[in-house]
């Protein structure tokens, strides 16, 4: 896809990338309504600046995420300027935006790898359970847990690279 100037281009871009953009918007804004607003604003800004998109320079996905990042900053500022009300709702995210984006990418990559690998990484690393315990629970040798950790990390790396991550 070249410049994003036609309404049909926007429709195609939305079909391809809205899920991820929305996922990150929810993650960083901690508010579904604001996240919708952010995604809508992102595509409108992309359409307005569509003739400046150059696929030779970077992917459409990267470009859209760069726009969303700015939109999230703007919305975050607007929200900070409003007085807080005690609504009992979820506290907004306080992570710095770059870190929130990286965290969301790791979580998204974890969702994309195979279930066996994800399960083992979650139990052994995130929940700090001994390999032997997880092996017994899953009914596999402990060596299998170790190899799943290895292949899980490799798969995670590939998934992250697909999302534009570089060392």
């Amino acid at each position: 896809m070249g410049a994003l100037t036609r309404e049909r281009d926007v429709r195609e871009a939305y079909a391809a990338h809205s899920g991820e953009l929305y996922g990150f918007a929810v993650r960083s804004l901690a508010d579904a309504g604001l996240a919708e607003e952010a995604v809508q604003e992102t595509f409108v800004r992309a359409w307005k600046a569509g003739d400046r998109f150059d696929p030779e320079i970077g992917s459409l996905r990267t470009w859209l995420f760069a726009i969303l990042r700015n939109v999230v900053i703007d919305l975050g500022r607007a929200r900070a300027a409003r007085p807080r009300v005690a609504d009992g709702g979820v506290e907004p995210s306080v992570e710095p935006l770059e870190q929130a984006l990286l965290a969301w990418q790791v979580e998204e990559a974890m969702r994309r790898i195979g279930e066996d690998h994800r399960r083992v990484l979650l139990e052994t690393h995130f929940r700090a359970r001994p390999y032997s315990e997880v092996a017994e629970e899953l009914g596999v040798p402990e060596g299998t847990i170790k190899s799943r950790v290895y292949y899980g990390l490799r798969a995670l790396r590939v998934a992250l690279e697909e999302m534009g991550y570089e060392d």
Binding site: Y14, S18, E36, V44, H125, Y131, K146, R157
Partner: protein
């Protein structure tokens, strides 16, 4: 050095990178790494990913992925369509409201008076005139805007609903009834051209504006909103 033993070492590198190995196993892997460049390279690659894991929240990983509401795409398309339409209007930038009805195309033409010998006037001080042609057949709308300038008058014609290709001749008449041609244009469906020409006739001298189109002539007074229907046969050309 591709042996079964080597493969076993490699499979331990994930747990090594994450710091999960018991001390004795860790020491053994470290000893292997000393002499194996391939495993050292593999470890560096895994360590980069392992360093990112603490950023992730396991509860969020296991939660169902957030999906945008089904109608969000349609809302975005609607906003873009609205902004696109507004941009088009701003480009044409008119101070002048067209008549209602979007089904018919609109032609905007700036028609200019032909060069004729005219009395000198102080027209620049006259207010701009917006003229609506009231007595026209149903489905047709004709409006005009006349702007005074030091060199004469500019005329913007807004015509809707007549047959495509119709030749329209525009004229002004002064108070003594003399008719001055203001040039001609063809009405086109969906036309979106804009022309700005100039005229020597001073707006303060103009009493009436007329359009001759399709064998009929429509006129409207310049200084009041009451429209007149001129008789056929007034041919300004």
């Amino acid at each position: 050095m591709r042996t079964e033993g080597h493969r076993d070492w490699k499979l331990s590198l994930g747990a090594f990178a994450l710091g999960d190995l018991p001390p004795d196993e860790r020491a053994a892997v470290a000893a292997h790494l000393e002499g194996c460049a391939e495993c050292r390279a593999e470890l560096r690659s895994l360590e980069g990913v392992a360093a990112l894991l603490p950023l992730a929240d396991p509860d969020r990983i296991e939660a169902p992925a957030a999906r945008p509401p089904a109608d969000l795409g349609a809302r975005i398309e609607a906003q873009i369509a609205a902004e696109s339409a507004r941009e088009g209007r701003e480009k044409r930038r008119r101070r002048f409201r067209l008549g209602v009805g979007g089904a018919v195309a609109t032609v905007v033409v700036a028609a200019v008076l032909a060069l004729v010998i005219l009395p000198v006037g102080g027209g620049e001080n006259s207010p701009a005139q917006e003229v609506h042609f009231a007595s026209v057949p149903k489905g047709i709308s004709i409006d005009a805007k006349l702007e005074p300038h030091a060199y004469g008058t500019e005329i913007y014609m807004y015509v809707k609903g007549i047959r495509s290709g119709t030749l329209c001749r525009v004229f002004l008449r002064n108070e003594s009834g003399r008719t001055f041609s203001a040039g001609s244009f063809r009405y086109r469906w969906g036309g979106d051209s804009e022309a700005q020409l100039s005229s020597a006739l001073d707006l303060s001298q103009a009493a009436e504006i007329g359009v001759h189109a399709g064998g009929r002539t429509f006129t409207a007074p310049v200084d009041q909103a009451t429209a007149l229907v001129g008789g056929a046969g007034i041919d300004p050309a």
